[in-house]
Symmetry: C2
Subunit: 501 residues, 2 copies
């Protein structure tokens, strides 16, 4: 990357320190999730609060602000220079509008809330998390007010994760796919084979060491670089970029369900491959990370569902599973094995849900957090409302809050507005797959268990570019057309019709 404009160069110099502080903070945050002893939470909160304050100071620095204004008047900027400027403007939006003390307060709140949530989830004790939840909502309402919005404070939060998105837009998008999804779920449920085999299999124990082996086989095939990252364990799987050469993800194991860690490995490795694959020339610049949560989720869910649960790839993986779970699944034939990954069934836990009902989980969360932020749902009612909505969408009520309102880490992180990007991800991913299929025989690769060509396509077309293109530009560049939800519906319909016909 050649930067010639001196104003942009000056901005990059300043941003370098911001980037470094983000990376230091990312290490502390990762450590908090994976390693922190319980008594150390308060001290760690102080540290991240301090770093966040330093980052804020750099974002709101007066000279930087002036340079940024000057840069907006520059002409003949290259593609990269334009992208750098655009990303810095998006970055400063939050910091220029939200008062520093509010940003610092939120930072402190989320650090503390995480440990409280973790314990509350373990003990199924929503009440102990409620005071934190109230505070987190309060601070995000204040932040929304500062950022500014037309009708709904939630819009201001959404915009942070996927620029330009509004609650109204999301609602319309969901309305478009919801009826077809519901119909598809019903069609599949009528046709799908009995779940007796699965019920039996879920009575058995799949040792964590074996689950780890399978997960590692899968991500090695994907091309995860173990010299530039690592895999650990945490209650909720996540991926963090400490820097391009240090991408860490975590996984969680359910001893009685070996499918869950297999898909978690591939999902998180999908995030990790994206970050490991970004152009090294972007290191330390505003182009260095993945462009949006939507694109990130597109890639992670692509690997998890469209590759990991592809029937041909599952056929290839079957011997590895059988070797490791010799006593448990040796007797399964090919169809029975594949069907384990094709159960469409209403469930409590989002991250364990199938790819068809998954979007209903997102709709539930979108409506919950939209309501919590715009005041139509009270925090003290959150656990109850969750149960009511669960009843409405899935016909089932979670028996504990651990399996309900406490299941996800997002709100404890203060990430209201994050969830819709998961649904967007599904849509993007299906459109990428359709393009890929035009370029080479994807099924042939999967039959052979070779993921190199698929990884190379994503690397060349998406990973490589980091945050150079906006999501809308990127999808057009890769697929030749704007986001079109019919690819996702077509993908699901074709896959499940073929499977059960």
């Amino acid at each position: 990357m050649k930067i010639t404009n001196s104003t942009i160069k000056k901005l990059l110099d300043h941003y370098k320190e911001i980037s470094l502080l983000y990376k230091i903070k990312a290490t502390l945050d990762w450590d908090m999730n994976v390693n922190l002893p319980s008594k150390a939470a308060t001290e760690r909160a102080k540290q991240t609060e301090y770093l966040a304050q330093k980052i804020t100071d750099l974002w709101i620095d007066n000279e930087f602000k002036q340079t940024l204004e000057k840069a907006q008047k520059e002409k003949n900027l290259t593609l990269e220079e334009q992208a750098i400027l655009r990303n810095l403007i998006q970055g400063t939006k939050y910091y220029f509008r939200v008062p520093p003390e509010i940003i610092a307060e939120k930072e402190k709140l989320t650090s503390e809330a995480f440990m409280i949530w973790k314990e509350a989830k373990e003990k199924n004790d929503f009440k102990s998390f409620l005071p934190s939840l109230k505070e987190l909502i309060r601070i995000d309402q204040i932040i929304a007010k500062h950022i500014g919005y037309k009708d709904n404070p939630y819009d201001a939060l959404l915009d942070q994760y996927e620029p330009g998105l509004t609650a109204d837009h999301v609602q319309k998008l969901f309305d478009k796919i919801k009826p077809q999804l519901v119909a598809l779920v019903q069609r599949i449920q009528k046709k799908q084979p009995s779940q007796e085999i699965i019920q039996e299999l879920l009575q058995q124990i799949y040792p964590i060491q074996q689950q780890k082996k399978i997960g590692e086989i899968a991500i090695k095939k994907m091309g995860f670089d173990f010299e530039a990252g690592r895999v650990d364990v945490s209650p909720h799987p996540f991926t963090t970029e400490l820097n391009r050469n240090d991408i860490r993800f975590t996984t969680a194991f359910i001893e009685k369900d070996f499918r869950s860690s297999y898909t978690a490995y591939m999902h998180e490795a999908g995030h990790a491959l994206y970050e490991q694959g970004i152009n090294p020339e972007y290191d330390g610049t505003p182009l260095e990370g993945g462009v949006s949560l939507g694109i990130h989720e597109a890639l992670s869910r692509f690997w998890e569902n469209m590759i990991g649960k592809n029937p041909n790839f599952l056929k290839h993986m079957k011997p590895f599973f059988q070797e490791n779970y010799l006593q448990q699944i040796q007797a399964l034939n090919e169809d029975e094995f594949i069907n384990l990954f094709y159960v469409v069934k209403p469930s409590f836990i989002r991250i364990e849900s199938d790819e068809v009902t998954y979007t209903l989980h997102i709709i539930l969360r979108f409506e919950m957090e939209n309501g919590l932020i715009n005041g139509t749902i009270k925090p003290e009612d959150a656990a109850t409302v969750w149960k009511e909505k669960s009843k409405e969408y899935f016909g089932i009520v979670p028996p504990t809050d651990t399996q309900g309102v406490l299941q996800d880490v997002h709100w404890a992180y203060g990430s209201f507005g994050y969830f819709p990007s998961y649904a967007l991800g599904n849509l993007y991913g299906a459109q990428f797959l359709a393009t890929m299929k035009k370029e080479f025989d994807v099924e042939k690769e999967l039959t052979e268990g070779s993921l190199a060509k698929i990884h190379a396509f994503l690397k060349d077309e998406i990973h490589e570019y980091g945050s150079l293109y906006l999501p809308a530009e990127l999808i057009k560049k890769v697929t030749g057309e704007p986001l079109n939800p019919h690819y996702f519906l077509d993908y699901l319909t074709e896959k499940y019709t073929k499977l059960y016909s």
Copy 2:
């Protein structure tokens, strides 16, 4: 702790930020040792270099310097206020005298050297570490010049670890105990039972999971607080204070020798108990850490050797060992089991050596690093000189540099001058033990496997005070007299005479 003097208050305010940055950096350093993927070393070096620079900036801050000068003129300071001032002056010595760019350069060098050392040790490749070693020596020679010294640049480095200590003093101290140690080693070797049993036992495998269990039993008995710390694995065991509620130590496992991890656990937990036990009121002040490396080693080696290898405590621990290594050591009688921990034998690896020959290992290192720093030993000869000295002191030559000059992490950390504190630790520890024995029946406690009273004594007399007293003051406060090496020689003589008589 009540601080009333306003100048001291001002100093404390400033130090708070230094303390926070140290803690953030400690987290990154711990992570580098335990978790870092190999490709991320350069980026991590940048981060720690940045933080070290921030710390330096705060130490050399002009207003702080002036406040410090003003404070030295204050009268009627309390004991705590005096200690705070004294520790800040000791802290600034390095920063006021060594130019910031040199401090930053050293920080960068050590971050990079660590990963190079780690790989060189794994691959037994001294040559690949040599360029780093040269650089580390060069930078410490420059630092010594800036700090200032009379005859020997090594004195300036020693002073950083144990204030006031000189190479000449250390040499005299070693000369005083060396002949008696040598005589003792010879006496023991003549009398000690055949090592056939041990040789046989070292042919077997002791699964790491079982070793971990024993280690955890031992440190639970010691009173290590798992909610305020953790235990991990790294090539060389070490303890880091991320903060008082987050004391982390690592251990290493040798599959064929279960004794090694047992003693490593107790050694490192000895460091950890010290830090976990410091007065919470000292948090974020210059009193918050252990007072010196010598006192730290006194405590760690006390737990490792004087408690962990005490015959009565070993009798108590025997059933736990036998339960976990059922097939391997079930047949041993009490004496045979105890004797496993009493072999006095020249060896290559310091951290695996017995408590009698250990001091010879320190003498070797002291002479090596004294020579490397004062120029009488060339870095390119380090591996060869190590082998020659090993031949001279132990009568044996390490077959690889992994077992020789590359075995310890200290030089890769740039910690020239550190080693002598290990020997001091032995002397302090024996003197503490003698005092403890006057206060209660230590052997009775050990026979019962109860370590609570011993921990309480250390907590009340030593841990609690953090860096309030200088080592010399502390030892006088605890034992009623200044450091007296005869306690250590008496301890060894009595222990081994009894054992083999």
